[in-house]
């Protein structure tokens, strides 16, 4: 469950080839980190899977079903964007209620993060008054709200204080252990090391390498993921 | 950085919208009555030019105009000044002849044969088909219970050749159509003192036809036809070469011209309603020194035409809804020394069209919601427009020259955009009633499709600043700030 297959995916913004005939398989029930330098195509890839970006060519399937015009597959997806942008005049409660409404008011929602991330007090303030951190927390609440089978977390802890950050990470781990598919992008390698099962490294719209975290650290002989990856990249360049 | 952009854009948008809104407010038609007015100020404004107006109009017209204007009862005005009044016998002394089914005379012609001058023929209800009847003696022919005289579509019905004949109470129907002869329901020839009243004329070629008849009274007749082509229809009331005829309280519809006068002198046309006739509601030529008062002319094919006449007074008439490419409320052509006063012109394509007419005074008229209120060609000279209300017309004044030989002074213009800081009731800036766009439409009629467009508004503003096409001298130096009061005299 929750296997995402990407075949020959290409997309360009103007002259910039963001994704270049990308082939990728994301295993279900694991946490996959998508890494790469700025502009490598991480966010575009995630947006393609979500349907926010219409790729120029290629095919994406989730559990064998092709991602197309029918938006129903998104019912299974939770998304926490990199920059949390919301209608400025609405409150978080209204947004939550609205999305709940759009999904047909399911009963078994999970609102525990509201309390765990301590955003109870912020729910009735218009978004324009919320700080970046609080927006981020609301994003997290929304991503987990409907107990999705697949979670996309785009830089989830950027801008969060250490306490909330670890609350969130615990939650991700919990979801991972519960067998959900998690796709993570992050610049914080310790976070990736802590959460991810495997790493996909993008460069210029292609996969530079793809390996499990354990393997990466093991074969490189480095003490942590960050150094392991650095070594791996330079090794390639040298070779 | 990226957060700031929308905010900046929003500010720019707000500024633009506010700016344009202000511009709009400045351009939007300013409602009337927004200036301060002093009590009594408009009276001085309108009376002074009115006095001049009287002086400039023909003397005869002016004296009568004053009377018509001042007397409360229009009949007094008529008794005093229009020498008509056919003499009614003080007491009836003649013999009465009764006509009708089962009466002594079955046929009207039988009674006409035996009646002497001074007798009365009373016709009971019935349908009389007797061919053309001629009345050659001074008798009264009175219908009782609306007897029908039928022309059977063949011939004229009643012809009067004697003086002092009275015809009353008949339905006259279906006089014949002819290209050669003017068949009419009632023809009066070469006589005087006739009275034709309270008759109903239906579907006749001509209705009432007076030729060389003098001192006649035609009133309270209901004259209807359903003509569809000018060539095959005659006039409702046709007056030719008549003196001192009164036409009152008639209703005429569906004829070629409602009321037609040619070579009529001292005629009084009063309180008639002439509507939906094929050509003119009222049409007169070569008819000097006549009065037209309190009539209603509505929805006629071409409105009202006044031609080749002088010393005419038209007052308190209503010219309504005359629509068409050559329809006028009032067309004046080669008319001199006349007064057009206190009339209502509403909803006409062209309310007043003046061609080759001189020394006319237009005052106290209300020109409302016409296409063109006044179209005055430059061959019209020394005409004087004062104390008129120009209200919501598409175009107020149009002329065909940059010269202006006529005077507009102290009128009220709803399109006037000036102000009255002096507080004297007249605008401080002169008003130019001729719009650039009316000139454009005059030369390129298709341009009418741009009427009331923003583009044309901009052109108008430019022309106002720097007039290059509109006549510079055609201005109203004393535009009134409020409508000329005086109620609705035509009502």
């Amino acid at each position: 469950m929750g296997m995402i297959r990407i075949h020959d995916l290409s997309h360009r913004y103007g002259r910039l080839q963001v994704l270049d005939a990308l082939e990728l398989e994301i295993q279900g029930g694991r946490c996959t980190a998508i890494l790469g330098p700025n502009g490598a195509g991480k966010t575009t890839l995630v947006k393609c899977i979500l349907g926010l970006v219409r790729p120029d060519s290629g095919r994406i399937t989730i559990d064998g079903e092709r991602v197309g015009d029918d938006p129903e597959y998104r019912r299974r997806i939770g998304y926490m964007p990199q920059i949390a942008r919301y209608p400025e005049n609405l409150t978080a409660r209204e947004i939550i209620q609205m999305i709940r409404d759009l999904r047909g008011n399911p009963d078994d929602t999970d609102e525990s993060l509201v309390h765990d991330l301590r955003v109870d007090g912020e729910l009735d303030k218009p978004f324009r008054t919320l700080s970046g951190g609080n927006r981020q927390k609301v994003s997290a609440v929304l991503a987990f709200l409907f107990r999705p089978g697949i979670l996309f977390l785009d830089e989830p802890t950027a801008g969060l204080d250490p306490v909330t950050s670890s609350v969130l990470k615990d939650r991700v781990k919990q979801e991972r252990d519960a067998g959900r598919t998690i796709v993570l992008t992050s610049h914080v390698m310790s976070e990736v090391e802590e959460l991810a099962d495997s790493v996909v490294y993008l460069l210029d719209g292609r996969i530079h390498f793809e390996e499990s975290v354990a393997e990466l650290i093991g074969t490189s002989g480095e003490m942590n993921l960050e150094r392991a990856i650095a070594r791996r990249i330079t090794a390639r360049v040298v070779a | 950085m990226s957060r700031d952009r929308p905010r900046r854009a929003r500010t720019v948008a707000a500024m633009i919208v506010v700016g344009i809104a202000l511009l709009l407010l400045a351009l939007a038609p300013r409602p009337e009555g927004t200036t301060i007015e002093l009590p009594g100020s408009e009276a001085t404004a309108s009376e002074a030019p009115a006095a001049e107006a009287t002086a400039s109009a023909g003397a005869a017209a002016a004296t009568r105009a004053t009377t018509v204007q001042d007397t409360a009862d229009p009949h007094q005005a008529h008794e005093g000044h229009a020498p008509v009044a056919p003499s009614r016998p003080e007491a009836f002394t003649g013999t009465e002849h009764i006509v009708g089914p089962g009466e002594r005379h079955e046929r009207i012609s039988d009674a006409l044969e035996v009646a002497d001058a001074g007798d009365r023929i009373r016709v009971r209800a019935g349908h009389y088909r007797e061919g053309p009847l001629t009345i050659d003696r001074s008798i009264e022919l009175i219908g009782e219970g609306w007897p029908v005289l039928d022309g059977e579509g063949e011939h004229s019905i009643l012809t009067v050749t004697a003086d002092h004949v009275r015809i009353q109470g008949f339905i006259l129907r279906d006089s014949g159509f002819s290209h050669i002869r003017d068949h009419a329901a009632i023809t009066v020839e070469e006589s005087h003192g006739c009275r034709i009243e309270h008759n109903r004329l239906e579907n006749n070629f001509f209705g009432i036809y007076l030729a060389r008849a003098h001192d006649c009274l035609v009133r309270h007749n209901d004259i209807r036809s359903s003509a569809t082509r000018e060539a095959t229809s005659g006039n409702g009331i046709h007056l030719w070469d008549v003196d001192r005829v009164q036409v009152e309280d008639n209703h005429i519809t569906g004829h070629r011209d409602g009321i037609y006068l040619e070579f009529a002198r001292n005629a009084v046309i009063r309180s008639n309603r002439s509507e939906a006739n094929l050509r003119y509601g009222l049409h007169f030529m070569f008819s000097d020194e006549s009065f037209y008062v309190n009539n209603v002319f509505a929805r006629n094919g071409a409105g009202v035409a006044v031609m080749y006449s002088r010393d005419v007074v038209m007052s308190r008439n209503q010219f309504l809804d005359n629509w068409g490419s050559s329809a006028y409320g009032l067309l004046v052509k080669e008319v001199q020394d006349s007064l057009i006063e206190g009339n209502l012109f509403r909803g006409n394509t062209i309310a007043i069209h003046s061609e080759g007419s001189d020394r006319l005074t237009f005052r106290l008229n209300r020109l409302e919601r016409n296409g063109w209120a006044v179209k005055i060609l430059a061959n019209s000279q020394d005409n004087y427009f004062t104390a008129n209300n120009f209200i919501d017309n598409t175009f107020d004044v149009i002329t065909n020259s940059r010269q202006n030989p006529n005077t507009f002074d102290a009128n009220y213009w709803s399109q006037y955009r000036g102000y009255d800081l002096e507080g004297d009731g007249t605008g401080d800036l002169a008003h130019r009633p001729v719009r650039l766009f009316s000139f454009i439409v005059e030369t390129k009629p298709v341009a009418l499709i741009l009427l009331r467009s923003f583009f044309v508004d901009i052109l108008e503003v430019a022309e106002r600043v720097l007039p290059i096409l509109t006549p510079e001298t055609l201005t109203d130096e004393n535009p009134l700030m409020t409508e000329v009061p005086g109620g609705e005299p035509w009502a």
Binding site: H11, R85, Y86 | W323, F455
Partner: protein, 262 residues
Amino acid sequence: MNTLKIARYQLRDVMRSRWVLLYGIFFLLMTDALFRFGGSGERVLLSLMNVVLIAIPLVAIVLGTMYLYGSREFTELLLTQPVRRRSLFLGLFTGLALPMSVAFVLGTGLPFWAHGGLAGGTGSSLLLLLGTGVGLTLIFASLAFLIALSTEDRIRGLGISLGVWVFFTVVFNGLVMLAIYMLADYPMEKPVLALSLLNPIDLGRILLLLSFDISALMGFTGAVFRRFFGSGLGQGVAIGAMAAWVVIPFALGLRSFHRKNF
């Protein structure tokens, strides 16, 4: 279903930002003032006509462009949910066009009702004015969406919107006038009629003219225009053209929205 839900949330957002309220009050105050100073319902309608033909396209296109840029976050949020792009687009459009139309109709209609300006034949003229206003709202909101979707730069999008407005309010008629003078030797009635179908503001203006300036239009050339727009065919064509002006930019906008990358 989702369209309505989305529209409802957008409506709440729009109402809270208050500009739509100001927009309604603008019409309310203007109409009321015209009644207080001007008098008859007919005259008020005539004055309003100019405002409607200028202000509605301007506000609809400028605010519409701003609105869609401002709804970017909302759009992105909802596109991650099980929501069709078509529903979202319709919801966004409704969220703008509905409150604008309602504000205009109430702002203009209420004073008429309050001042008893519906007497006589003005009732149908008012309906025509309101209909034209709503039509122009839809048309220029669609154009605004199309513009906002085709350029990412907000300032530029706003500039294009204003340009489009200026074109339809002023430049277009200047070109018509030019054509009339340049081609004076040809019968221009029909070409000019055809041209007027290409400008929604002109279309609205002519429909209103036929209601207000009938006396003038009965003369000369006017009769040609009147005969055309007064006939069943002409009215069908006019309403069809107006509808096309709503549908075509809307459909293009929808297509562009469908293909857009967020």
